[in-house]
């Protein structure tokens, strides 16, 4: 009996916490499709706000995707080989390098943005283009890709695979292409999802780096919260949710799948 009371109490608490997290999100999604927030759902459901958002902010949505995918490409091209290099060289140097590239996670986005502004503010062409924001995003998302790939390399004992491939005569590049990368796919995939999701949602860094012509979606959101009516801001948030929630679901499903696969092994 006592056990059942404890169970009920814990369940109620957990449900309360879940409600705290879910209700505001649902509210904001609903507000985005309500004709008049202050009169509530009774005022009717409409997609007008969403179209208005599209008209005002379509460029931010496109730019966010552009930056996120570009960041992904850079992280793949630079980060995957680097992860292999770090893992294979091992030792103190590689651990130190890992520490360094993980620093951007510890240092607030604000500080990194400031640093970039001070360093490159003078190069006005670069500073005014979306590539400037891309640079910031790459610095911030690279550690996730590298860590994710290193983790999977460690788990599959890449060193032995590499050695056996080399005993068969394959050059380092062939080994990397034919053996290492295919076997590292789970880590690459997990890292990719992470990079895209984080880039789409990045604000702290991007706010400091943006110009009126290089706004991303989160930056546009902040604008709309300050200056637009609540329904428009909510609709804009709804668009953001629609973009990001599938990615989050994919990440969770993927993580659950790979955990189950590891258990089976």
């Amino acid at each position: 009996m006592r056990d059942r009371i404890i169970f009920a109490g814990q369940l109620a608490f957990t449900l309360l916490v879940t409600a705290f997290l879910v209700v505001p999100a649902v509210l904001s999604m609903m507000a985005g499709v309500t004709a008049n927030y202050f009169r509530g759902i009774r005022s009717g459901v409409t997609l007008d706000w969403v179209w208005q958002v599209w008209g005002l902010y379509a460029d931010t949505i496109g730019r966010s995707f552009l930056i996120a995918l570009s960041a992904l490409v850079v992280c793949l091209v630079v980060g995957v080989p680097a992860a292999y290099g770090l893992y294979r060289s091992g030792g103190r140097l590689s651990r130190a390098v890992e520490e360094i590239i993980t620093l951007p996670l510890a240092i607030p986005g604000l500080a990194i943005a400031l640093a970039l502004l001070l360093a490159y503010g003078g190069f006005s062409d670069f500073r005014r283009s979306w590539l400037f924001i891309l640079a910031g995003h790459v610095v911030f998302t690279m550690p996730f890709m590298v860590r994710s790939v290193i983790a999977v390399l460690a788990a599959i004992d890449v060193k032995t695979l590499d050695e056996s491939a080399s005993s068969l005569g394959a050059s380092p590049w062939r080994r990397f292409r034919d053996v290492i990368v295919p076997n590292a796919r789970p880590g690459i995939l997990a890292g990719s999802l992470m990079v895209v999701t984080l880039s789409l949602g990045e604000f702290n860094l991007t706010w400091m780096l943006h110009t009126p012509l290089t706004k991303t979606l989160p930056v546009g959101l902040a604008d709309s919260y300050a200056s637009m009516r609540l329904e428009v801001a909510s609709a804009y948030t709804l668009v953001f949710f629609i973009m990001i929630i599938p990615l989050l679901v994919a990440m969770q499903l993927y993580a659950g799948q790979s955990a189950a696969a590891r258990r089976r092994r």
Partner: protein, 271 residues
């Protein structure tokens, strides 16, 4: 091509990127911090200037409070979810962790919807007591906002740690006569300590450096990231802003380094 050369080639692009877009700018930041009217003393200003010190204390207290509350909430909910399997459990877990990637800006907006001038809580309290309870635009609102994006992170770490607990230790305690509360106090919570330290440090560091939430809720909430922002954009006090940023970065890094010595390698995101 030898393996060594190949590895060098693999690492080269990363080295270039990190140097050009991180190390060099950070060095520039540190130097700029010391280039203002205070000189190197600017770095001590964070502790000496009463205005800055007040902000620092505010930020630390807020972050500590958020960390404590998040750990407590996540432990109760995390233990419960990991230990009991019931229908709908995976839905609950998904719902609890999906806010993981929400930027602080969006969290701020949701807090306004919840506790702002036209917020849900305001309406409810007005219906019951005739008074609207509005607290989004203050420390309380910020606290709630930070709680919002800390809970998903911490709860995942704690649930992973609970999964790794050795059940025979709890059985041994029960065999020796320990009731459920004693088992939690003497066996479970001590075993979770590394997870508490690791995830608590991440929550603390994230709260210290969080900007978007405070930005949305009001520009006059007194936390360190907001101070840095206003120094830079409104007061054009670049050197001070740089110095404060470096200070903030150091504090966050130190806390996380401490966490790593306890073996956690979970990562932080957004804020």
């Amino acid at each position: 091509m030898s393996l060594k050369t190949f590895i060098g080639l693999c690492l080269l692009p990363l080295a270039v990127v990190v140097l050009a877009f991180f190390l060099m700018p950070m060095a520039r930041l540190i130097v700029t911090g010391a280039s203002g009217e205070f000189g190197l003393k600017a770095y001590a200003a964070i502790l000496l200037e009463p205005r800055y010190r007040a902000t620092l204390i505010n930020t630390v207290v807020l972050s500590a409070a958020v960390t404590a509350a998040t750990l407590a909430i996540s432990t109760v909910a995390g233990l419960f979810l990991q230990r009991h399997h019931f229908s709908g459990r995976s839905v609950l877990i998904a719902l609890l962790t999906f806010p993981l990637a929400f930027p602080g800006v969006v969290v701020g907006f949701m807090i306004i919807l919840l506790a702002g001038r036209q917020g849900l809580i305001g309406h409810i309290t007005q219906a019951f007591t005739g008074q609207k309870w509005v607290f989004a635009y203050s420390m309380e609102g910020l606290f709630l906002g930070y709680l919002y994006f800390s809970i998903p992170r911490v709860i995942l770490t704690i649930m992973a740690a609970v999964e790794k607990l050795d059940p025979s230790l709890e059985e041994a305690a029960r065999a020796l006569g320990a009731g459920p509360w004693a088992v939690q106090r003497d066996v479970v919570l001590p075993a979770l300590r590394p997870a508490f330290v690791a995830s608590g440090a991440i929550a603390f560091a994230t709260a210290m450096g969080a900007f978007g939430t405070a930005f949305t809720l009001a520009t006059n909430i007194d936390v360190l990231p907001m101070l840095i922002y206003t120094e830079f954009t409104l007061s054009a006090n670049i050197a001070m802003a740089a110095a404060l940023s470096v200070g903030l970065g150091l504090v966050a890094w130190a806390v996380l380094a401490l966490a790593r010595t306890y073996g956690g390698n979970t990562v932080a995101a957004a804020g």
